[in-house]
């Protein structure tokens, strides 16, 4: 299998820099997601890997071979497109055969391989259908099968689930995940859906404005975002502006904020007086009716402004001093009413610092 290396990739369209000097290594067997809002450069990066865009600068290596300048048809890639791009005038079987024909595979081998892949993507018996006779999910699997049957070096998926309805989309996440693990193919997966990226990926590459902000596992990205954009894009967050007051002796920091002194675990070194942003996830906040025992860190008094019920959580919006509003996701059986005074408490380990 193939190790994919992207080295200083730049792509400009006129004055617009779509991808700005990114570096990325993707190992054999690994599934890496490119995650970000539309226009962040994730699709352009994928198209550069596929060969549909010529990079302005940088290298793209399949193992040790630089593929920049190589036509897409010579790269041995498997690509799944957002709207599947199944050839409408060909049957499922013919769609799958297309790539094999281009490789001059003999007829008998071809049929064997197609049958095997149809089995894998659970489409046995549908070979004679035309794409417009298939459901969205089936078309999606044909597209996957067509990309896999040629046994490509890398598999590229461009928002492959965007056109499916919510239920099917969740199922297909697991389907693709399992398929990729079974086949063990190096895979790049472009999506703007954070949940999808978290379910499916070994590692997630979060991109904004052509830059990579963070590369890491789902948990990493969620709990320890390196920038406010990343924290904002993935899940809900509370942000509190603060200034570093000093070390706290436990390997963390003490910070001054409009809500009083807060503490936070943080390994990197920060200067005293440095302006930072404190991030707390809504589910990390505990609500307490009475003032917690003295010495409890990160306890903030507030008033319930709004409450809403989502089934698995009971949500609150709590106003605190200085007009700071905290979003809280509590257990569904908590019962505070609008106007109640309460205390928001969050653990030092679940408090994170983002450098501005």
């Amino acid at each position: 299998m193939t190790k994919l290396t992207i080295n200083g990739l730049v792509k400009r369209f006129g004055d617009v820099v779509a991808v700005d000097a990114i570096h990325l290594e993707i190992d054999d067997h690994e599934l890496v997601s490119l995650l970000g809002p539309s226009g962040c450069g994730k699709t352009t990066t994928l198209r550069c890997i596929a060969g549909f865009e010529t990079p302005t600068a940088g290298n793209i290596l399949f193992d040790a071979n630089d593929v920049v300048g190589l036509d897409p048809e010579k790269r041995n890639i498997g690509m799944v497109f957002q709207n599947y791009a199944l050839f409408p005038h060909m049957t499922v079987h013919q769609n799958l055969a297309f790539g094999l024909e281009m490789r001059g595979v003999a007829k008998t081998t071809m049929d064997e391989r197609i049958a095997k892949v149809l089995e894998t993507v659970q489409l046995r018996g549908l070979g004679d259908r035309y794409p417009n006779q298939l459901s969205g999910g089936q078309q999606q699997r044909v597209a996957l099968g067509r990309a896999l049957v040629i046994e490509p070096n890398v598999l590229l998926l461009d928002e492959p689930l965007a056109n499916l309805d919510a239920k099917l989309r969740e199922e297909m996440r697991f389907f693709i995940r399992h398929l990729q693990k079974r086949v063990g193919i190096t895979t790049v997966y472009v999506t703007h859906d954070q949940a999808e990226a978290m379910v499916i990926s070994d590692r997630i590459v979060v991109m904004f404005d052509g830059h990579i902000h963070q590369i890491g596992g789902p948990k990493d990205i969620y709990s320890r975002p390196v920038s406010r954009e990343v924290a904002d894009f993935i899940g809900l967050s509370n942000f509190i502006a603060a200034r570093v007051a000093g070390k706290d002796g436990d390997g963390g920091y003490v910070l001054d904020s409009p809500l009083g002194q807060l503490r936070c675990d943080y390994a990197d070194s920060l200067d005293d007086g440095q302006a930072v942003t404190i991030m707390v996830r809504p589910e990390a906040i505990r609500l307490e009716p009475a003032k917690p025992a003295a010495g409890t860190s990160n306890a903030i008094p507030g008033t319930v402004l709004e409450r809403f019920f989502l089934g698995n959580i009971q949500g609150y919006r709590v106003t605190c001093e200085d007009d700071v509003m905290l979003q809280v996701q509590a257990e569904p059986w908590t019962e505070f009413s609008v106007g109640d005074s309460l205390w928001c408490v969050f653990d030092v380990e679940r408090t994170w610092i983002i450098r501005d």
Partner: protein, 304 residues
């Protein structure tokens, strides 16, 4: 898939770089470009030059250049040519107006009908367009002919009339023919425009208390204005440059610019003068369309 994003635009235009740099793609363009430059643009330029040539009695034109072809046409003592130009414009506006009020209900019906005959009706609108204009005029000749046409001979047979009602070789015959021939050119753009109006807008209008008629006037018609504009311009331009219909249904009694021009060219062999007349017609028609478009675009704000 939209074409507006830079990435896709680029993929179409020059994405896989070598496509554009590949001079071989020019082979797709050059034969047609050559044909159009040599046999369309150049002949039109040549015609402009022709309209400034000196007239000649023995040849189609004489050496040297003049502006008198235009002067003769515009400052004719009897205003003969300007009157014909005026008649031509009247025919153009009249035909356009009639086609619009006849064609609109038909287009609306065809756009909104759920009848299983919708395709057949569409074919009915389309087919006259695809049958030659001479054949269609001939159909009208059989019906309208003054002595022995279907209407006159039938009426005479039953003793309703003594001699005949003049139905062709007059303005009526030409007008009827023009409206008939150009009606599909009005219906088709209207059809497209009305089909692109979301029926929910009509329902919204009715839910707010507007009657069907009010809905038509306040919602459907304003939204169909792009189609109205396209259809009216098309019919107007086709009418003022039509040749076959006035000749066959108007004979020598109805003279409009295009018949006059062809007469000057083929019968009188006055090529420079004919070319000048043709340009006077084109410029007048072009200006009329220009001001019409400017005027109507005021009412189309907010419509794509």
């Amino acid at each position: 898939m939209t074409t507006s994003t830079p990435a896709i635009e680029d993929a179409r235009g020059q994405g896989t770089g070598s496509w554009l740099r590949d001079n071989r793609t020019l082979l797709l363009l050059l034969p047609t470009l050559g044909l159009f430059l040599a046999f369309l643009l150049f002949p039109y330029l040549n015609m402009i030059v022709m309209s400034f040539r000196n007239p000649s009695t023995s040849q189609v034109f004489a050496p040297g250049y003049t502006v008198f072809n235009y002067f003769d046409a515009i400052f004719d003592e009897d205003l003969y040519y300007l009157e014909i130009l005026w008649d031509t414009m009247v025919f153009g506006v009249g035909t356009t107006f009639l086609c619009l009020i006849i064609g609109y209900p038909v287009a609306y019906h065809l756009a909104r009908t759920k009848s299983r005959f919708q395709n057949l009706l569409y074919a009915f609108v389309l087919s006259p367009l695809l049958v030659g204009v001479v054949v269609r005029c001939y159909g009208w000749i059989i019906i309208l002919a003054n002595q022995d046409g279907l209407i006159n001979s039938t009426l005479r047979k039953y003793g309703i009339i003594e001699s005949f009602i003049p139905l062709m070789y007059n303005t009526f015959g030409v007008g009827l023919g023009l409206v008939h021939i150009f009606l599909p050119f009005m219906i088709l753009p209207l059809l497209g425009a009305i089909q692109s109006i979301d029926p929910a807008l009509e329902e919204a209008s009715q839910s707010l208390g507007a009657s069907r008629t009010k809905t038509m006037i306040r919602v459907v018609f304003p939204l169909s204005l792009p189609g109205v504009q396209a259809g009216t311009v098309l019919v107007f331009v086709l009418t003022i440059s039509s040749y076959v219909i006035p000749i066959l249904l108007g004979g020598l009694n109805v003279m409009i610019m295009s018949t006059l021009v062809v007469q000057q060219l083929l019968d009188a062999m006055l090529w420079p003068f004919g070319a000048a007349l043709a340009f006077i017609l084109s410029v007048t028609g072009g200006l009329a369309v220009y001001f019409y478009l400017k005027f109507t675009s005021h009412f189309m704000k907010g419509i794509a």
